[in-house]
Every structure is written in C-alpha cells, then in structure tokens.
C-alpha cells in the first residue's frame, strides 16, 4: 500500500438486511487490500454481526438512526468500527453453549459477539456515553502477502 492510512466511511439506516451493504463494502475494501478469500469471508460475517447488533440492539430498529461503519486501511491491517447510538452491550455477555441451547437452558440466539471475537484478530466494544458505542474489529493481512 502506498499510503499509510486511508479511511472509508459508510452510513446506513437501521434496517435489518442493510448489513449486507456493509458486508459487500467491506469485502471490496478487503479485496483491494489483498486479503485472501477466506479472510474476506471472516470479515463479512464479523461486520454483518456487528451491524445487526447495531441495528437491533443499539438503534432498536429505529430506521431514522444511522449505523456508521468506518473502514481504516493500514499497511498491515483493516480496522473496522461499527457505530450505533445506544450504550453498547452490557458485560459480561453470556458465552454461547451448544449443549445448553440444545437442552433449552440457553436461548438459541446470542452467538454474534462470540463469532465476531472468533473470526477477527482483535475485537472490542467501546461505549462513549454521550454519543453512542461502537464495536471495533481488526483483521490483519497475512505476513507473507506484504
């Protein structure tokens, strides 16, 4: 990459299904950066889950509220922030447990944040009480590629 830093911004109304727009925008950025196809898939799922959470939980499906996505390219990684206007998740978040789910001791949902953490290289949730919160994810380029 010629330039050390450059950033792409996307904003979406809070409507379920629109996470696909973020997925495809991010995939396009990932391909330009040279990520291998399996990492693009990881990125797509992670960003989709973060957007769905922002739409559903953060902005409570209020379409007038915007979900913001920033994609920051550095020479060795892509950093993604998914912003909403809510307070962010309350920690600790219950870890999904398939045995409990199959025994109906845990609701079937609740796998999004777990998947985000499993699929990207860094994931954190940042709450900025005055303005909202964001999920921050970093996915690094494989070393051999640079």
């Amino acid at each position: 990459m010629k330039h050390a830093f450059s950033s792409i911004e996307l904003s979406l109304p809070s409507r379920l299904g629109f996470e696909k727009i973020a997925m495809n925008t991010a995939a396009s950025v990932g391909r330009i950066m040279g990520f291998p196809e399996d990492r693009i898939e990881d990125l797509k799922t992670a960003i989709a889950e973060a957007c769905i959470n922002a739409i559903e939980h953060g902005n409570r499906l209020d379409e007038k509220l915007v979900v913001g996505v920033t994609l920051s390219m550095t020479p060795d990684a892509l950093e993604v922030r998914v912003l909403d206007t809510g307070p962010g998740p309350r920690f600790p978040v219950e870890v999904p447990d398939i045995d409990k789910k199959m025994n109906e001791e845990q609701q079937s949902r609740g796998m999004g944040m777990f998947l985000i953490e499993a699929l990207v290289d860094e994931a954190e949730w940042v709450s900025t009480p005055s303005s909202g919160s964001y999920a921050r994810m970093v996915i690094r380029l494989p070393k051999s590629e640079e």
Binding site: G17, E41, D97, S108, L115
Partner: protein, 121 residues
C-alpha cells in the same frame, strides 16, 4: 441475484435405502427474517418424516440469527426422534457451524450423496 429473502423447496427422495428422505432445500438468505421459511416449513412436514436432509448449497448469506433458527429446528427434530443430515455449506460456514458447536449434534456433509448415505450408516 436480486434479493428474494428465503425460499425453501421440499422434496421426497429415495437414497436407495428404502425409507424415503425429506429434503429441505434452502435458497437465498437465512436470517432472523427466515422464521416462517425455516420453522414454518419444518412444522409443516408430515409426522411420517423421520429422516430430514437439509440442503444449504443454494444459501448465499447466513447469519447468527439464521443459525439460531437452524438450532431451533434441530431441537424440535430431536424431540420428535427425527434424524437430520446436512450438506452444501461453504467452507466458511462449515467453520462457523463448527465454532458454535453445531457439529456436536449434526454432521456437515460435503455433498448430497454422502449426506444421504449417512442416514443408513
């Protein structure tokens, strides 16, 4: 392809093992908006359906809420003593299903033939 939500095709096939197998072929997306397509279709199956084959090969987008619907279907099937086999997930979604542990309850087969054969194994 234009966005068509979730579509399901239901079929009865015979893998050569005698008892017919009910196939649910999902097409499009499996998300929180697919409740009717996934659970509705499942609930509409006749009680005689004991072997259920799920075809994910035409699924383009699957998210964690969609996976939750698949888990709900698996719970219902296990209560009814039905067996589920699946095939057609992309390598990425095979990984995702493995991450959430679904592979502890159903096998993800590479293709229809292998999945079919697994019913008589």
């Amino acid at each position: 392809m234009p966005d068509k939500g979730t579509q399901v095709k239901m079929e009865e096939i015979d893998c050569g093992a005698g008892q017919p197998i009910t196939v649910l072929r999902f097409i499009g997306d499996i998300t929180s908006l697919s409740q009717a397509a996934v659970l509705g279709t499942y609930q509409g199956l006749p009680d005689t359906a004991k072997k259920i084959l799920i075809d994910f090969s035409k699924v383009e987008y699957l998210n964690s809420s969609g996976i939750a619907l698949v888990i709900q279907m698996m719970i219902a099937a296990s209560k009814k003593g039905q067996t589920i086999q699946t095939f057609g997930l992309t390598p990425h979604f095979q990984k995702v299903f493995t991450m959430v542990g679904i592979t502890r309850y159903t096998k993800l087969h590479p293709d229809e033939q292998t999945a079919c054969a697994a019913f008589s194994a």
